[in-house]
Symmetry: C2
Subunit: 329 residues, 2 copies
Amino acid sequence: MPSIRDVARLAGVSHQTVSRVLNEHPSIREETKQRVLDAIRQLDYRPNQAARALVTSKLNLIGILSATVGEFGPTASIAAIEEAAREEGYSVTTLNLPDTSPEAIGGAVRQLLREQVDGIVVLAPQVRVFHVLRGMAIGVPFVSLQTASGALEESVAPDQLEGARMATRHLIELGHVDILHLSGPQDWIEADSRMRGYLQALRDADLPTIPPIRGDWTADFGHYAGLELARRQDFSAVFAANDLMAIGLMHGFRDAGLDVPRDVSIVGFDDIPVAAHVWPPLTTVHIDFADLGRRAIARLLASLRGEAPSAEEPPAPALVVRDSAAPRR
Amino acid sequence: MPSIRDVARLAGVSHQTVSRVLNEHPSIREETKQRVLDAIRQLDYRPNQAARALVTSKLNLIGILSATVGEFGPTASIAAIEEAAREEGYSVTTLNLPDTSPEAIGGAVRQLLREQVDGIVVLAPQVRVFHVLRGMAIGVPFVSLQTASGALEESVAPDQLEGARMATRHLIELGHVDILHLSGPQDWIEADSRMRGYLQALRDADLPTIPPIRGDWTADFGHYAGLELARRQDFSAVFAANDLMAIGLMHGFRDAGLDVPRDVSIVGFDDIPVAAHVWPPLTTVHIDFADLGRRAIARLLASLRGEAPSAEEPPAPALVVRDSAAPRR
DNA sequence: TTGTAAGCGTTATCAA
DNA sequence: TTGATAACGCTTACAA
């Protein structure tokens, strides 16, 4: 591995001059610069990041702390985060939390810190993760893709509550009165917002609220719930907290001999890529996960540079009307 | 940020002794060790990775080079890779290729090298990526999750060809004779293996082979293909190269008034989480993507340590029979 | 515009 | 079992 001194020797200058070329220092003679550049190319020299990081105490590294289980949304956001960060000259390291115990979270943050990250993006939608995070003196800026109630300052969450209201209102406008909610697991921020949106919409319409069913985000659970729910016929519509559960739910209803949307209307949330193609095509709420990721990076880099975060609005959710919800008969 | 010298001062030893404790050097008095450990805890000292990397010229960093578009399979593998690598004390940096031009690939590898990765895991299933990789003197070990024909030595690919044969054979055993293949895009290794498996199964059964249709992995394309195919009624079964296209295909057929599996049988590939819940439940080929990722890391670390790679078999694909394929009427 | 010297925080080497 | 000293490859200051 050639070092900066090898380049200097070949170009006939001091290693300091090479450093200046590398860092685009203004005062350097064009000809010298070219000589150095040539030498760099000739030796296939690459600056040693470790040495650079040692002296500047900056690695230009962003850590992603994720506690999601490989679902579509977070994955799409992570890809966007990674791309946006690299565009700005940062590299990215990802750390998936195997579980969300306080110890695991603390350990993960410490690990990221040990790796000298300059900032952290958190995709850890469990409320308890936020408690732990808030209790830690992290020492580097961080941004979250979710908002806990009474939130941390830095987050770029979309308005999930509003999305859930839109979904529920859609069912109300179709004439449904007895609307169930299949929610996400306790302790999940998203599950909570979506449930609150549902409850709000019902209250606004002076409709009875029925205690939500706690699911676990999986299609398997949706299927199970569909089978169970088919027995009680006290509802005509369900708002599922995500598409996977909605699809499982349709499966369960189908197995029980119920037709969607003739007998039951369903609305999902997320707009995953298959949503438009399942039978019946799923009415759902679209979230722009990639955009979310990009905003997170913009926000993080702003605070890394000491700029004020732009007061941009988070991306708005949008209702996508397909065929799984129909007027009440 | 406390340094090793601060710890040394507090513990009343030399910084070298602290270093020994850190690196679990055998000859150190237990009592001294405890004093140092206490000091470390007291100061919340964390070793500076950059300094360590500078002197050892090892960062314990693994790079993931990915050129996939956020599909289920690669994503699951990446999560597993990340976890396995961290367990072994390596951190992980991910780099998504925006496009697969030779320049982009070369740039990405150089970028990873500049970040001082000790090894690279490649999830870049396009044939051309392999050409570029092979032409580069990379200088660090790397492992691929795909096998190009006439392959690179290091890969942990599952036997996709065999999976495709199983899928096709299943249709043949159901009595189908005119079996179509909806393949993945040209230049994709997976697309190629799956297509070859399909062709082989047909040949083995002395059945006519029909030129495959080139898709792009998306459900949208599957939908379009279903609409088009519905016009020509010269087949009774389709083997789709992935589940997303299979689901889109079912949608297209449905729109055209064809019933699956009554009029057409369909088999997919991947076994994505919704496969069991769509209508009709999708017969498909299951691949253990997480296992694949873990093997990739095992392999990479073995060559990093100079060990011989274990001659383990790649994970075997498994046919999952559900309802989208039925006996030919 | 260029060069020289010092130091970043760690590990490796040698000596005690 | 411990300590002193010299790197590692770079950037920052200061001097020429």
